[in-house]
Amino acid sequence: MFVAIRSKVTHIFGIILQVACLFGLSEIGTWISKALDVPVPGSIWGLIILFLLLKFKIVKLEWVSSGGDWLIREMLLFFIPSSVGILSYGNLMLHQGIQIVVTIVTSTALVMLVTGAIAETVWKSRQRRNVKSRYAKEEASSC
């Protein structure tokens, strides 16, 4: 029992430490974004840096994965405080809210339909081609 609690505490402590490291990376990213003066936010720079560190095996996946996976799993939570900001535009929303929501919902539906349909079509056509080439190979080998 005591061992179980201790391993749990170590796990949570590990997550906190890893989140702190990821936070550090995003701070470095923010610094780069300020220094270079290009419209790419610091967090995206941080993402690129972490990817390269992983790719070139400077950072091991286990060093960041439990904290990183936790952050991704709970990402919706982090959007909530800014979403409550809708409150500050109560007046505008009262007068033009319906038009704004109709515009956004229709446009979002169109974007998702087009993006999903194109990706699916390309994926299917490529799969068909793969199946065909596999058949061709099998026929060639059976002859």
Binding site: L47, K55, V84, Q99, V102, S107, T108, A119
Partner: protein, 226 residues
């Protein structure tokens, strides 16, 4: 104690909303929406101003940056799959970004939204920091864009699963890209609920879509409004 109220309240409502959603699985009871409504009701009842609430729950907003950095992890895990599907990505995202900007501007005109609001709607389908930046470039109101980004996210989280079902979309790549392109970070979070591969495709789409829109919007929007 009071300092932490906003933070504790948000976490408790979010956790409650999540538990409720797991039990009923009804799209409109998305934890994001139930939590948002509960918070707005509490703020209105206790007369707490938004800026007070925001500063007291700032720790949560600050977590968005490391969470974005963490997206490098699934990207690294599934990188070869993504390389294999590069055609799907680039083609669907280029079309998606064009549709996003064009339809926003045209629909805003049909709905008779005023100029600065229409300009603030245009970049709404990309992740908040980049959307606000584009809004500034176009001459919109960045703070308003932030709100539109959230409305986009909420509507996409509800619409996405419906579109996947109605269009009978089967591939993880298509499911991921439609979430990442359609509704940025919120969509990415939702796509990770479907699966690792869907979520990774969504996060990659979100980043790519942001860059495409960054280049596209300042050219396309003046043309559409001319």
């Amino acid at each position: 104690m009071l300092m932490w109220m906003g933070l504790v309240m948000t976490v408790v409502f979010y956790w409650g909303g999540k538990t409720l959603y797991k039990k009923v699985r009804f799209v409109l009871l998305n934890p994001m929406i139930t939590c948002l409504i509960a918070l707005i009701v509490v703020l209105l009842c206790t007369h707490m101003s938004y800026s007070t609430y925001f500063s007291r729950s700032k720790l949560l907003t600050d977590m968005l940056n490391p969470a974005t950095v963490a997206l490098a992890i699934p990207l690294y895990r599934h990188f070869d799959v993504l390389k294999r599907h590069i055609a799907e990505f680039l083609l669907s995202l280029a079309c998606g970004a064009t549709v996003a900007v064009t339809s926003s501007v045209l629909l805003a005109r049909v709905m008779r939204l005023s100029g600065s609001i229409a300009l603030s709607v245009a970049p709404r389908s990309v992740t908040t920091p980049i959307a606000m930046d584009i809004s500034q470039t176009l001459g919109g109101i960045p703070a308003l864009t932030a709100v539109f980004v959230i409305i986009t996210g909420l509507s996409g989280v509800i619409l996405g699963p419906l579109i996947i079902r109605v269009c009978r979309i089967q591939s993880s790549v298509a499911k991921g890209t439609l979430f990442g392109m359609g509704c940025h970070g919120l969509g990415t979070a939702r796509a990770f609920e479907i699966g690792q591969m869907e979520g990774t495709c969504a996060s990659l789409s979100m980043v790519t879509a942001a860059f495409i829109t960054l280049a596209l919007a300042p050219v396309l929007v003046p043309l559409l409004r001319a």
